[in-house]
Every structure is written in structure tokens, then in C-alpha cells.
């Protein structure tokens, strides 16, 4: 690709690049991250406005059991997955049952920001009766390492904002500085310091961002 048409440039990504990267990310996730359900690509087809190839990635109904017993070192999240299709009624598969545990459900959307030219993570938590969880409750579900990261970092902070397409309040991880650390990642990961190939853009991005919300990706995805 010539310099004028670069899909990934300076840590940023174009809309077309995002669509490609999203598909590649979802594919790799499906192949390597079997403890989770797959991400879905939700196209932005409004019945009145046909937008070609625009959409966002969605991962929903991830159950996080907030255990009251915490290990001394790193907290590991007991994460189970709800495999049911969105349209069907929820059929829970719970690995660990503890009378004091409360099931919190999480939805994650990876949405493209045309302004900042980077992806953004939107998420929300709710209890089994559908009631939304407050940020304080959500923070308790996050690994303690990421909570301190959130508090100290100027790059990662969470705000409550309206979902760009769904007209509902969600939480958003701020994109400020994304292109800077993506650049750092690409410089350190490749021998000639070239740009991240578009297929790996979202994988690299999520390897950092996912950790903030407690979602780790297996190393196989980074190849």
C-alpha cells in the first residue's frame, strides 16, 4: 500500500482497516480462545441507511462470579461463558457454585472511533435481573492490578457515556493515547520496526485493553 492509502498509520487505523482487523480478531479468538464464546460482528445496517462494511464487535453475557474469597496474590477471575444465542432464552452454565457468589453479566463492544481513528471499548455490567451495575460494583469485579492501573494511568480511564449506536448509557474506556502505545507495541514486536499488519491491529490493541477489564488473550493469537 502506498503511503497515502495506509490502513494502519502512526498507530491509527482507518475505517476499512478496522473492518478487516475486526474479522481477523474474531477469527483468531474463535480458534485460540475456546474458554469464551466468539465475538460477533454486528453490521450497522439501519433499515434506512445502508452503510457498507461498517459495524462493531460484540461479546455479550460473559458471566463473572464475584467471589468473596480473594487469593492473596493475583486475583483470578472465575469467568464462565454463556453459549446461548442472543435470540434464545438464557441457559446458564456455571462452573463454580458458591452460595455467596453473585453472577454479574458483562457485554463488551469494540467500536471504531472515526474522530480518533482508533478502536474503543464499550462495556456494561448487569445482574441477573437485568439491573445495570454501577462503576463501583464493576471495579470490584476487575483484577486489582487493573484498578490501580485505572487510578494511576493518564491513559486508561473509564467514563459513562452513551453508546454511539444503541441510545443507552454504557461505560467507555478512553482512547486517549491509544495510537501512542500501539506504536510502541509495533516497534517492540517487529524486527524492522514496521507498522503492525492490519490483521493483528485489534489483537495487539486488545492484548492491552482487554487486561484492563480482566479479559486476557492467549499468546497464540498474537502470532
Amino acid at each position: 500500500m502506498d503511503s497515502a492509502g495506509e490502513v494502519v498509520n502512526d498507530g491509527k487505523i482507518t475505517l476499512e482497516g478496522f473492518t478487516v482487523a475486526a474479522r481477523a480478531f474474531a477469527d483468531k479468538w474463535k480458534r485460540h480462545n475456546l474458554s469464551f464464546p466468539p465475538w460477533s460482528w454486528i453490521p450497522l445496517i439501519n433499515r434506512t441507511m445502508l452503510k457498507k462494511e461498517e459495524g462493531y464487535l460484540s461479546l455479550e453475557k460473559i458471566i463473572i462470579l464475584s467471589s468473596l474469597e480473594e487469593s492473596a496474590e493475583e486475583e483470578s477471575l472465575d469467568v464462565t461463558a454463556d453459549w446461548s444465542e442472543k435470540e434464545e432464552s438464557v441457559d446458564l452454565t456455571v462452573l463454580v457454585q458458591n452460595v455467596e457468589d453473585e453472577a454479574h453479566y458483562y457485554d463488551y463492544h469494540i467500536v471504531y472511533s472515526a474522530s480518533y481513528m482508533v478502536p474503543m471499548l464499550y462495556f456494561r455490567g448487569y445482574s441477573s435481573d437485568g439491573k445495570p451495575l454501577s462503576l463501583d460494583v464493576i471495579k470490584r469485579d476487575l483484577p486489582s492490578s487493573s484498578v490501580s492501573l485505572l487510578l494511576e494511568s493518564k491513559w486508561t480511564f473509564i467514563t459513562q457515556e452513551e453508546h454511539p449506536y444503541l441510545n443507552r448509557p454504557w461505560f467507555k474506556l478512553h482512547p486517549c493515547g491509544t495510537e501512542e502505545w500501539i506504536k510502541l507495541l509495533s516497534e517492540s514486536s517487529s524486527s524492522d520496526g514496521c507498522q503492525i499488519p492490519v490483521e493483528l491491529y485489534l489483537v495487539s490493541w486488545f492484548s492491552v485493553v482487554g487486561q484492563v477489564v480482566g479479559l486476557k488473550i492467549p499468546r497464540e493469537m498474537l502470532i
Partner: protein
Amino acid sequence: MAANEEAMKYVWEGAIPLQIHLHKSEVASHPAPPPALVLAPRIGYLPLLVPLIKPYFKDSLPPGEDSIWFDYKGVPLKWYIPTGVLFDLLCAESERPWNLTVTFLSLYLSFISFFCLRDTELGYTNLSFPFYLLLFLRVLETFYLQIHFRGYPSNVLIPCEGEDSAKWNFVNSLKEAAYIINGNCKNVMNMSQSDQEDLWTSVMNGDLDAYTRLLPKLKMGNIEDEFSRKESLSSPVSRQGGGTEIDVAGQVKTARIPVRLYVRSVSQNFENLEDVPEIDTWDEISYMNRPVEFLKEKGKCFTLRDAMESLLPEYSGDRAQTSGEEEADGSQETRGEIKLVRIQGIELKLEIPFSWVVNNLMNPEFYLHISVLVIGPQR
């Protein structure tokens, strides 16, 4: 320049008369309080009006804590959208006086003439006819809202803590606009805290003079106006030979303009704007927060139509003919059509140069808010 200042004055002085009723479920006094009448700046936000409105209703409220929100005909209003945009988007169609004037005027005249003829022998004259007409027109321009002090719909609206939320939203939008125009938010981040405060205060108070004084401190990049740019005869010739302007660094000049687009779609064509049905939920409005990008090409003018085409490719240009094309199976498909483009309350002709529109009609946070009414594709 003088023309630009005039336009900014127009934008900053634009105001919408609001008639605000306390929602009947919250009226705890008898009789119910009369509505509050407030003139709202177009570039302002609803939460900023609360101190003006609350005194009207404070004696009528049930006990408890306030969590204030507004609705228009049952639709909860997004408090972070400028008031003028809300009006242009939600109700201006049915309540714009200009379209109804002719119809009503003729009705009114016949009504009056009937009474005048009847009462001629009593010497009755109707001096107040022009007054009532004006009052009628005024009534039609009003934005009728309901205010709530309880029961905040937090499942659909993000929380609002009054002025602080409005300020946070403004600064965030400003940063985003700066990122789009300059490629980074440094100019906003580098502004001193007190300058940022003053900038916000100038917007809150509608103080254009103060805002204009603070603008140089903001160092927002220039959005070139084709009319103001001095054409230099010695500008570098395009290496690509396509008439594309290239600056000294050899970079193709692409401008990115912050735009927020609000699209209302109706399924059927209509003759009069007042036939457009009201919306029931925000889901009927497509919101696009997406910059318009255009190459600055010599000799070519990037118009508002070009901008709309880039944002809504399915609706604009020659491809959007309402006399459809035959599909393979013989069914006719008509593409959509843009019926109305409204910015700062003005219905604009699409031939206007886009840079003029941006420079003269953008909001103080450097965003251009465009309300669009389209007719969806027919099948």
C-alpha cells in the same frame, strides 16, 4: 473578518422560546403551576437553564431529592445536545410558522371578514388582527417541553449533575474537535485551567466578546475559507497533475472537519413539513459522530452537498433519484432522498461552500451540528 463576526453573532444570539410544563405526575400543588417561559440560547444546553426554571416549580414539587430531566412529547431529551439542535431536529417541522402561515392566514382572514361583515353596523373593528397573527407565529415557534424532577430515566439517559456535566461534555467535545482538526488535543490540554474555565463561562453566559478574546489562547487550527484564502500565484504546482494542492512538505492537504449528524428518516414522501410524523424514541434518529474529510483541490469548491454525499452516500447526488431503477426481478427500487438540511435553524442550500458553512455556523466547541430529514429508500 467582519463577515465571520456577523455570522458568529447570529449564531450566539440565536435563541428558542421554551414553554416548560411540570410533568403532571409531579404536580403536588393545587392549582398546578403555570408553565415556565424561558428564552434558551441555541448554543446552550438544557441543564444550564435549570436555575432559571426551578423557581417556577419549587413550591409544587413532591418531597424528595431532585434529579432533573426534560422530555419532548414523551421522548427524554439528551441533555448534552445543544438546545438549538434539539429544536431543529425534533419539532421544527410541525411547528415552523412559515409553512402554515399562508394556510392559516387565509382561514383567519375569512374568519375575521365574516365577523367584520356581521358586526359592521355595530362599528366593530378588529385592530388586533396583526397582533394575534404575530402571537400565533410566536406560539408556533415555541419549543414545548416537560420538566421532571424525579424518576430520572437512567436506563436511557446518562447521568447529569447540572453545570458540571455540561462543562465536562463541552470540554470533551472541544478536545475531540481539536483532535480532528489538528491531529492532537494538545492545544486544549495546554490551555491553563483558568483559561479553560473562562472559555466555558463565556459559552455558558453567551458572552461572545469574552469567547473571542480567549480564542487565540486556544490555538485551534484554521479551517480555510475558500473566500478568505488569498490565492498565491506562486503556490506549488501539483506534482500529481490532478489539481490537488500540495503544501511545502509535499503532503496532500486534507481537511478534517468535526461534524455531528442527526438523521431523521421518514418512509413516505410528503408535501408539507407539518405532515412529518413526530418521533416516539431516539431509536428513530441515526446519530453520526464522524468527521468530513476533503481534499483541498484548486479550482474546485467543496460544497455542503459534497459533504452530505460523503456522510450519507446512499442519499445524495445524482444517484438519488426518486424515480427508481428497475431491479432484475422487475421490482422498482427508489433510493433515498435528502429533503432537508438544517444548521443553526437555517435550511441551507446544498450548493453553499462547505468551508463557509463550517466557519460561520459551527458551535463554540468547534463542532458543526447538522440535522437532516431524509426519505428512506422505498422498496
